[in-house]
Structure formats: structure tokens, C-alpha cells
Amino acid sequence: MLEARDLTKRYPAKTAVDDVSFTIRPGEILGYLGPNGSGKSTTINMVVGLLAPTSGSLSLFGHSLEQDAEEYKRHIGYVPEEPHLYTHLTPDEYLTLVGRLRGIARTNLKTRVTELIRLFDLWDSRYQAMSSFSKGMRQRVLLSAALLHDPHLLVLDEPFSGLDVTAALLFQTLLRLFVQQGRMVLFSSHRLDVVEGLCSNVVILRAGRIAAHDSITTLRESTGSQSLAAAFARVTDQTDFSQLAKAILRTVQS
């Protein structure tokens, strides 16, 4: 189980995340939503251990990030929002690098890397430097790298960005099977239709604070909305876009 308690991140100029708490239980995909700048990526960076919280705590299966960071991080697979990877490497080289850093035994690693490259449809490009890859191909490499060490928690920040329809459908099925085995997923995305189809519970952030934390059904009912997108717009006070859209058109047409 992942427990985030009272997470806060303050910078000199602003508070990016303010007193955020949530829990992910085995078998659960938690949707983590919010408009741009609401603190989603900051929270995710704290959850994966890339950013130290100003206050609050994180623990995974009882391993505290503060006291036992190595054990905590060992169980996490991560797909960042932007495909930050070493593009001068080939997928084969990158996955081997990640596998070695994760301490996967030689024989297992070679087999896993080869199979993942084949299954994620990267076989024909396995010796090509990733600098020539499309965003979708890079995303598939990142997903392979996140799964390589068979993690207990997958932290996904916009994982479907750039993926084609087939790959996105495959990955949604994969996530469902993954959590059926008692694993967990923290899923951050702006694709609310996908979140609605995948997640049981959601956390919605607004200006660094939790604006809603509930199951999707309860959220829809409590806001009187037909869809998660409508509920999201209500919770984040983004109901009327027509004025903004008109202002934009006026600006470019003046």
C-alpha cells in the first residue's frame, strides 16, 4: 500500500503542493487529476523520490521514503510526463542500462529486454538511436523500462501521450491485468475519458490542494454530472470556457 500523508512542497515564491494525503491499495488504479500548474507533477516527483517534500511523509509497504529510500524506490516503476531519455542510445542499450541499474540478473535481463522490445513493437528499430524516434516510440521505451523490474507500483504521468490507438488500448488492458495481480498504479493524465475507464478512485487537485478525493461514481453523483470531465470542470471551477475562447479569438483577430 502507498501512503502519502500531508505532503507539502514550498518554494520561495509559492507553495506548489499543500497538505496532500492519499492512499493507494493493492489492486487499485488511482487517477490523479488537476489543471496545469495545480501541483500534479510536483506530487509525482515527490512520490517517486526525485523531489524531497518540505513536510509530510511517504511510505510503500511500510518502507518510508525518508528512512529507507532505496527499498522504497526499488518497488516503483515510473513513466515521466516528458520522454526524458538518453536519445543517443538504442532501445536495447537503454533498457539494458536501466535493467543493470535496477540490479536485474544478466540472464533474466537479456531475455526480458529482447521480449519487451519485441512485444512493444520496437524490434525493427532496436539498433536505431532513439533520437530518430517519434514521441510514441519513446513512450513505449519508457513504458518498457518502467515494467522491466516487475514493480509493485507504477507511477504514470501522461503515459498515453503520443501513443497510437492500438498501443493505448494494449496498455490499458495491461494496466488492468497488472492491478488484478495486486499491484498498484498512480495514474496522472489529462485524458479524462481514459481515467474514467481505468480508475476506480480519483484525486483532483486545484492550486496545490485536494479539491476532491473520491470514487468516480460518487464524484459524478455529488456534482450532478454525467461524466468525469463535467465533474472535473465543476470541481476546478472551469465551467464556462466561452468567455475565454471569445477573448482568444478577439486577440488574434484584432
Partner: protein
């Protein structure tokens, strides 16, 4: 409408000009530090010019009555043409891959309502400005003052006219050097198959920079070579700066000390370089839409790699970082460039030292030959270390940060020490051994190999003692300390290491007992440093952010 179009073109020119001074691997703080480093270099050029002027004033005060004055002036003028030419070539070689519009320009600019012609003319206007600065700065601050001091000392020579003539000759020579680099890069972009583009571009740039570094000590020695130059040696025909000095001598009406073939060679070579650069530019213009096609060939693992890797099995973390280092240095322009350039410094020092000692008695020649592996090692170690400090996409380093563990940290860092030892100690030792064998015989040379390796290994241990970075993953700040301070330490370390290593090897070569003593001492020092490093390494977290030294940070000028 025309005015608006011209304004857009000027914006493009400004964009291209700024891009020559931008290094993609740096973050914002690194970019700021790079600007500081450039300013430091500019002030250094002015400082060198002032220093040399003072030196020349002193020199010519005591030379006015010399019988060989004309010869000495000829050698000095050759230096005044060669030094700026070298600096201009270095500046253009550093921006060589950006001389022509590339893939990024194609992707971004061709999507805008801009014609290919406008993009190319803007790029060439920016290039012209950059080249003009690269030609003018060294000629104005170094060649012009020196030329003024030297001119007017030969009978019948007008000081002002001679100064202007030399200045024009220097500009011409530097212009030729810039055009030649543009022509070579143009051949790579406009003619070479796209699959070869990356490799050819890296080879050209690294080769040019390495050649320039090797030429540097020779150019510095030109004023002292006046006797040799006075023999009107045909070798001058192989020396590009001499071609242009030949033209200057012709303009000034001096009959002696130059070969009449030099000026025509200067003219022909300039015309050829210009024709090639124009033709290559036209070819690059026509091929611009091919910028989108893949420019790298597949990196399939070589068959011979497998048994080699099986033989060199190490800890998984060491292997991870070792392969990361090896692939990055091979595929990244900037990293290969740094390694090649600093290795060339070592090679230049070694070659210079041996050439200097050719006419000396056996003992000094032997010392110069024994210094060769250490000069190469010093250059390679500094080059390798510097290359490892330069980041490649620091934002991708999250994977190293997420997987950092106390238990594997020292294994990861160990890849740095091993890589440095293999490429900066073992390889230079192997390369220098034929030279040593030529002087001392094969048996003795083989006996000196272990001592050379022990000393080199101890040097690597000393260099790695406070190393806390996975190569290429930490942000980088240029010019953290004043350039003079950095240069002073590098020269001191270079000098001491080469001197100490050579002395120890010289003593070891004198007999079995000295060999045993030196071998024991060098091995003991190596082991002691290694033991200290093992105790301290891996205790502290890895570094992923570069900081200014405390002394500078304390000023807090940015707050």
C-alpha cells in the same frame, strides 16, 4: 512590405547568430557560465596581445643592430600571421556542425512562411558576422600591435604601410582558414551520404581541433626558428601561413627570405576553398529537405563485442556505467571533441619534447622519450575527466537518481576509474612503448611497462579521489574559477606529473635494483591511494547539480 520582410530576415539572422554561442547540453545556469567563459577568453586574448607587445618591444630594443634583423622579422611576421589564423580556425571548427542550417532549423523554420532562400541567406549573414569577429579579434588584439612594433625596421620600409600590409595579409590568411573549414563542412553536408553525415561531421571536427592543438606549440616556436626559415626551405610550401606571408613580402617589395611560389599558392588555395564552399553551400541548399531523413546508421552490436564483453565481466552497476560512458563518448560530438583536443595537447607536448631533444646528448634525449607516455597520459586523463563532466541531457538523469543505492554507488563510480585507466593510461602506454623500445631496446621497454602503469594508475586514483558523479548526468557550470587559476593548476599538475613520472622511469631504467625500488614505491603509492579512495567512495550521495565554489556563492550577487 519590403521593410517588414527585411525585419523578419534580421530576426532570423539574430537567431542564427545567437545559436552559435549556445550549447544545447547546458541548462540556464550553465549557459550563463558559458557566457562568462567567453568573456574570459576574450579578455585573455587581449591580455596575451598586451603581454606579447611588451615582450616584442623589449626584444626589438636589443635587436636594432643585428645583422640577421630581416630574417628575425620574417620569422616574427610568420608568427603574426599563423597565430590569428590558428585562433580563427579553432573558433570556426567549434561551430562547424552549425555552419549550415540543419534538421532542427528545417523542422521549425520550414513550418513558418519562410522560404528556403531566406533561411539560407540569414544563416550565411550570421555566419559572416561570426567569421568576421573570429578573424578580427585575434588580428586586432594580437597581430596588429606586434606588427606595428616590428614594421619600419628594414631599410626602405614605411612603418604605417608595412603595418597595414601585414594586417591585411593576416586577415586574408584567417579568412582562408575560415573558408577552408566551411568548405570541408560543406562537403560533409552537401556531398556525403546522409548515413555518414554524423560520423563524418564528428571526425572532421575532432580531427581539426586535434590538429590545431598539435600545431599550437609549433606556432609558438616560429619566432625562434628564424635560422631554419632563412634557408628558404621548401618546407615553407607546406606551411599555409607562409603562403600569405609570401604575398605580404611581395607587396612590401622584399626580395629575400621568401619563395616566389608562396603568393600564387595563397591565391590559388583561397580561390579553390571559396569555390568548394560555394559549390558545397549550393549542394546543401538543394539537399535541405533531406535533413528530415534519418542521419544515423543503426548501431547493431559488433560480433566481436560479445566474446570481449564476456571476458571483461564486472559488477552489473559497473557494466551499466561503463557501457554508458563508452557509447556516449563515441556518439556525442562535444564529448569526442574534448577527449580528442586534450589528448592532442598531450601528444603535442610529447612530440615537442622529443623533437626539441633530437640535437641533444643521449641522456636528455632519453629523458624526453621517457616523458612521452606521461605527457600523453596527462593529456588523456584531463581530457577524459573533462569529457565526463559535460552533461548529455541532464533531465534524462532521473533514471540514475531513482536507482541510486549506497551498495552499488561505488561500483558505478568504479566504471569511471576503470574507463580512465584503460583509455588514458593503458592506451598511451602502449602507444609510447615503440618509441621507448627504439631508444632502450624491447626488453628494457617491456620492463618499464609495469612501472609506467603503476604511476599512471596512481595519477588516476588521485584524479578520482573526490569524484561523486555518474558521467554526463550532472549539470555543468563553466568558468567556476578564474581561467588563470584553472590554467595554473592544470599546468602545475601536468608539469609535476610528467617531471616526476619521467624521473622515476629514468631511474628505473638504470638497473635492476633501482627498477625494484621504483616499482615498489610506485605500486605502494598506487595501493595507498586506492585504499583511501575505496574507504571514502560511495559514502556520500551522488552529485546531479553543479554549484559555484563557496567563495563565489557567498557573494550572492543574484539575490
Amino acid at each position: 512590405m519590403k521593410r517588414r520582410s527585411f525585419t523578419i530576415w534580421l530576426v532570423l539572422v539574430g537567431h542564427f547568430l545567437r545559436s552559435f554561442f549556445r550549447l544545447q547540453f547546458l541548462d540556464d545556469a550553465g549557459q550563463e557560465s558559458f557566457k562568462r567563459a567567453l568573456l574570459g577568453l576574450l579578455t585573455s586574448a587581449i591580455g596575451v596581445g598586451l603581454f606579447l607587445s611588451r615582450l616584442y618591444m623589449w626584444k626589438y630594443k636589443h635587436l636594432s643592430a643585428s645583422r640577421d634583423l630581416e630574417l628575425i622579422i620574417f620569422a616574427d611576421r610568420l608568427f603574426m600571421v599563423a597565430a590569428p589564423m590558428l585562433m580563427t580556425t579553432a573558433a570556426i571548427a567549434l561551430i562547424a556542425p552549425s555552419i549550415f542550417p540543419g534538421e532542427l532549423d528545417f523542422r521549425i523554420l520550414m513550418a513558418l512562411p519562410l522560404s528556403r532562400g531566406r533561411i539560407f541567406t540569414a544563416k550565411f549573414a550570421a555566419l559572416f558576422m561570426f567569421v568576421a569577429v573570429a578573424i578580427l579579434v585575434p588580428n586586432l588584439f594580437i597581430a596588429l600591435p606586434l606588427s606595428f612594433i616590428v614594421s619600419g625596421r628594414i631599410a626602405g620600409e614605411s612603418p604605417v604601410l608595412a603595418t597595414i600590409t601585414c594586417f591585411i595579409g593576416g586577415i586574408w590568411a584567417a579568412g582562408f582558414a575560415a573558408t577552408a573549414i566551411i568548405a570541408l563542412q560543406g562537403l560533409v553536408v552537401g556531398v556525403a551520404p546522409r548515413r555518414w553525415f554524423h560520423g563524418a561531421s564528428i571526425s572532421l571536427q575532432s580531427g581539426t581541433v586535434a590538429a590545431l592543438v598539435i600545431a599550437l606549440p609549433f606556432v609558438g616556436r616560429l619566432p625562434g626558428l628564424w635560422r631554419t626559415l632563412g634557408k628558404r626551405s621548401d618546407h615553407l610550401l607546406l606551411l599555409p601561413p607562409a603562403w600569405f606571408l609570401g604575398a605580404v613580402q611581395g607587396w612590401l617589395g622584399h626580395q629575400g627570405y621568401y619563395d616566389p611560389r608562396l603568393a600564387p599558392i595563397a591565391m590559388v588555395s583561397t580561390v579553390v576553398a571559396m569555390c568548394i564552399s560555394i559549390a558545397a553551400s549550393l549542394a546543401a541548399y538543394r539537399r535541405f529537405d533531406q535533413a528530415m531523413s534519418p542521419s544515423t546508421s543503426p548501431y547493431a552490436p559488433a560480433w566481436w563485442n560479445r566474446p570481449l564483453y564476456a571476458l571483461t565481466r564486472q559488477h552489473l552497476s559497473t557494466e551499466a556505467v561503463r557501457d554508458f560512458i563508452s557509447v556516449t563518448i563515441r556518439r556525442s560530438n562535444i564529448h569526442l571533441l574534448v577527449v580528442a583536443a586534450v589528448f592532442a595537447i598531450g601528444a603535442a607536448l610529447a612530440a615537442n619534447s622529443v623533437l626539441d631533444s633530437m640535437n641533444l646528448e643521449g641522456r636528455w634525449l632519453a629523458r624526453a622519450i621517457l616523458a612521452a607516455p606521461f605527457a600523453l597520459m596527462a593529456g588523456s586523463v584531463v581530457g577524459f575527466r573533462t569529457a565526463l563532466l559535460i552533461p548529455t541531457n541532464p533531465r534524462a538523469a532521473w533514471i540514475f537518481r531513482m536507482t541510486e543505492q549506497e551498495g552499488t554507488r561505488s561500483h558505478q563510480l568504479n566504471a569511471v576509474r576503470r574507463g580512465m585507466f584503460m583509455s588514458a593510461v593503458a592506451l598511451p602506454t602502449i602507444w609510447a612503448m615503440p618509441l621507448i623500445a627504439g631508444e632502450f631496446g624491447y626488453a628494457k621497454a617491456a620492463g618499464l611497462v609495469p612501472i609506467t602503469l603503476f604511476i599512471g594508475s596512481a595519477f588516476v586514483e588521485a584524479v578520482c579521489i573526490d569524484w561523486r558523479r555518474i558521467p554526463f548526468t550532472c549539470t555543468f557550470l563553466f568558468a567556476k574559477r578564474p581561467p588563470v587559476y584553472t590554467v595554473f593548476w592544470i599546468v602545475l599538475i601536468f608539469g609535476w606529473f610528467v617531471f616526476l613520472g619521467t624521473s622515476l622511469l629514468f631511474v628505473a631504467s638504470s638497473g635492476l635494483v633501482p627498477w625494484l625500488i621504483v616499482a615498489t614505491i610506485s605500486l605502494a603509492v598506487d595501493l595507498a591511494l586506492r585504499s583511501y579512495r575505496r574507504r571514502t567512495w560511495g559514502r556520500w550521495p551522488l552529485e546531479f547539480e553543479d554549484y559555484l565554489p563557496d567563495g563565489l556563492d557567498a557573494l550572492r550577487l543574484r539575490e
